[in-house]
């Protein structure tokens, strides 16, 4: 039973990673860039949702919708101002710019909201009106799952399915896949490559806002650096599953969450991150393109 509860908390944590990783992997797939600022967009999403709840008195779900709108705009603006002029530049130049954007967002957040942690009210309160914990009890109360975990897992699956349908069934999704395969050819076929890349950033940033709300519901606190570590982990999750692949990001995120949770429970809290990264290294050495990544043979 104990194992099962650790497993479930791992899956729900992994669902958050998976949502972030989906954004990472989509942006990487199409723009071929590591968007290091993605983690900080999560943080901005968290703060927007926090402000909507505490200053405007909006309900939790509405605050997340607001955060999604703000983050979408932010993502498109960042892409237009910082990344678009660098389309032809080396990948390192884009990487450094992304780092600059990440520093910028973190420090701007620190100026606006201060460095001290803010208390975040979880989207689904931990206790209900009667003061009982908001959990689902199974096996005669031996196993309890909080509603927020259930909600997170559900949200992750819904997002995954919607994204897969979007990329496989819609015209815009087709354009995205075309751009990620060959930008030049896509342009010749009449696809507006720049608009498609902006759309990808918009979707990725909206997902980051959702992830921000869910992540802060788990940690219940919010700081300017809140997004950086989950951002790095989600990036590892995306690579783990095979970067550029949507099911890969989902699988990588869940596995990463489970590994982290089990390592914390059974091996060592301090070394949980080290174990997580060690597993990543082993997987990449055995399967260099990630779990579900496509192997692309080099042409000479």
């Amino acid at each position: 039973m104990e194992f099962l509860s650790y497993l479930i908390s791992g899956i729900s944590l992994g669902s958050v990673y998976a949502i972030i990783a989906l954004g990472y992997t989509m942006v990487y797939g199409i723009a071929k860039m590591l968007n290091f600022a993605h983690g900080d967009v999560i943080m901005v999403g968290g703060y927007v949702s926090f402000c909507a709840v505490s200053y405007l008195g909006l309900p939790g779900w509405l605050s997340v919708v607001l955060a999604m709108a703000v983050c979408t705009a932010l993502g498109v603006v960042i892409e237009g101002l910082a990344y678009k002029p660098l389309r032809q530049a080396t990948s390192l130049a884009v990487l450094i710019t992304a780092i600059g954007v990440s520093y910028f967002l973190q420090n701007a957040a620190q100026l606006i909201w201060g460095a001290s942690p803010k208390g975040y009210t979880p989207l689904i309160p931990t206790t209900n009106a009667q003061g009982e914990p908001n959990t689902l009890r199974l096996f005669g109360g031996q196993l309890s799952i909080s509603y927020i975990s259930l909600f997170t897992m559900g949200a992750c699956i819904v997002i995954m399915v919607l994204l897969t349908l979007f990329t496989n069934r819609t015209k815009l999704g087709k354009a995205m896949r075309a751009c990620s395969e060959d930008k030049g050819a896509a342009q010749l076929m009449g696809i507006n490559v720049n608009a498609t890349i902006s759309l990808t950033f918009a979707i990725g940033s909206a997902l980051a806002a959702v992830a921000g709300g869910l992540l802060c519901s788990f940690t219940t606190s919010l700081m300017p650096t809140t997004g950086s570590m989950p951002g790095i982990k989600a990036f590892t999750a995306a690579v783990f599953g095979g970067i550029g692949s949507i099911p890969g990001a989902f699988l990588g995120g869940i596995l990463l969450g489970v590994i982290e949770s089990l390592a914390k429970a059974y091996i060592s809290t301090q070394l949980a991150n080290a174990i997580l990264f060690a597993v990543l290294i082993i997987v990449l050495l055995v399967k260099p393109s990630g779990l579900l990544g496509k192997y692309v043979p080099e042409k000479v």
Partner: protein, 361 residues
């Protein structure tokens, strides 16, 4: 005299650049020393001299991996960390047997370099099989693992020698090492190294920079260096003419790691307290920024970028809260400006065309 000028003119362009780099570093050292003895440097600037030296060495060594070998490493701070803590252990452990501080510093830097080289080898053998972004993410992962492992390390020293423990459960403290009453704690887990005798000096930093430059520039201009650069430019072509990929990649990577370790030891012995969290992903990124802004493969560029960008946040101190924001904006603007085609065309028209611009690797 005329003969000498003739001789200098006859040198290869790369040799001239190298000599200018050495000369520039020596000149900078002399000027800074003169300013310091003249009392023209304020306290905060004097305190920054050793870290600047350490970061210059870091930048030059990372440039070897990123600029010359062409592989993106995001875990360079991990090697610095290995060097720093092994150096601190060596320097503190030898306090009784070697009273001379400079001698201990030299030994500590050597120990740091050797341990970091070993770490570089262990990391490099599997990692260098990967390519591009995958290699980047694995170096990042190694950097984080090294940080976490050092966070669990407990080291103490007494008359019976060194004592080490590995705090996996998180419940051990320095008292569990069973040190004798006169013993001293060197590394206290997450607190890091405490009570270290700071023995690093600016002169040592200068000497380390010079050694680093000699090692890196000679490697780059040698047969091995040309093989490494051939791998960067076209791995398959290089392999097909018989360049041993693993050997040369490892050579560059391990050299880079060991120099980072030496820089770490210099850095670590400059402070009485040092936590492993100092060498996080952010530090790796910071050094990478120095390298990219200084110019990939350009050693003097790295030196200048490291020195200027280390001082810049301090110089922006009057903007107080806004300084990191300004730093971020400067970073983005520089990247946008250096990659702007119109600006590049403008620069090409204003500046005279450089002869042999293609061969300054």
């Amino acid at each position: 005299m005329k003969k000498l000028i003739q001789k200098i003119k006859g040198l290869k362009k790369t040799t001239k650049v190298d000599f200018a780099t050495y000369l520039g570093v020596i000149l900078a050292f002399v000027i800074v020393n003169l300013l310091r003895t003249g009392g023209l440097l304020n306290r905060s600037l004097t305190g920054m001299l050793v870290p600047i030296c350490a970061y210059i060495v870091m930048a030059v060594s990372l440039n070897l991996t990123v600029g010359i070998l062409g592989e993106l490493s995001l875990g360079h701070a991990g090697f610095m960390s290995v060097g720093a803590f092994s150096g601190v252990i060596a320097a503190q452990g030898l306090q009784a047997s070697i009273p001379s501080a400079p001698a201990r510093l030299v030994i500590a830097i050597l120990v740091g370099a050797v341990f970091a080289a070993a770490a570089g080898f262990i990391v490099g053998v599997p990692v260098l099989r990967l390519r591009g972004d995958y290699l980047a993410i694995v170096t990042l992962a190694f950097g984080e693992i090294i940080k976490d492992l050092i966070n669990c390390l407990l080291v103490g020293y007494d008359s019976r020698g060194l004592h080490m423990a590995f705090n996996i459960s998180g419940s051990l403290t320095i008292n569990d090492l069973g040190l004798e009453p006169g013993g001293m704690a060197i590394i206290k887990g997450a607190q890091g190294a405490t009570g270290t005798t700071a023995i690093s000096t600016f002169t040592a930093g200068f000497v380390l920079i010079m050694i680093t430059l000699v090692v890196v520039l000679n490697l780059v201009r040698s047969r091995a260096g040309r093989a490494i650069m051939a791998l960067r430019d076209n791995r398959i072509a290089a392999e097909s003419v018989g360049v041993n990929v693993t050997k040369y990649k490892l050579m560059a990577f391990v050299t880079s790691a060991s120099l980072a370790g030496a820089a770490g030891a210099l850095y670590g012995l400059n402070y009485s307290n040092l936590a492993a969290s100092k060498f996080s992903f952010d530090t790796s990124i910071l050094v990478l920024v120095y390298v990219v802004l200084g110019g990939l493969g350009n050693m003097w560029g790295s030196i200048i970028a490291a020195a200027v960008l280390y001082i810049l946040p301090e110089a922006l101190r009057e903007f107080a809260d806004y300084r990191m924001l300004v730093y971020a904006v400067v970073l983005i603007l520089v990247m946008l400006a250096t990659n702007n085609d119109q600006l590049k065309a403008l620069a090409g028209r204003i500046l005279p065309k450089r002869k042999g611009a293609a061969d300054n690797g």
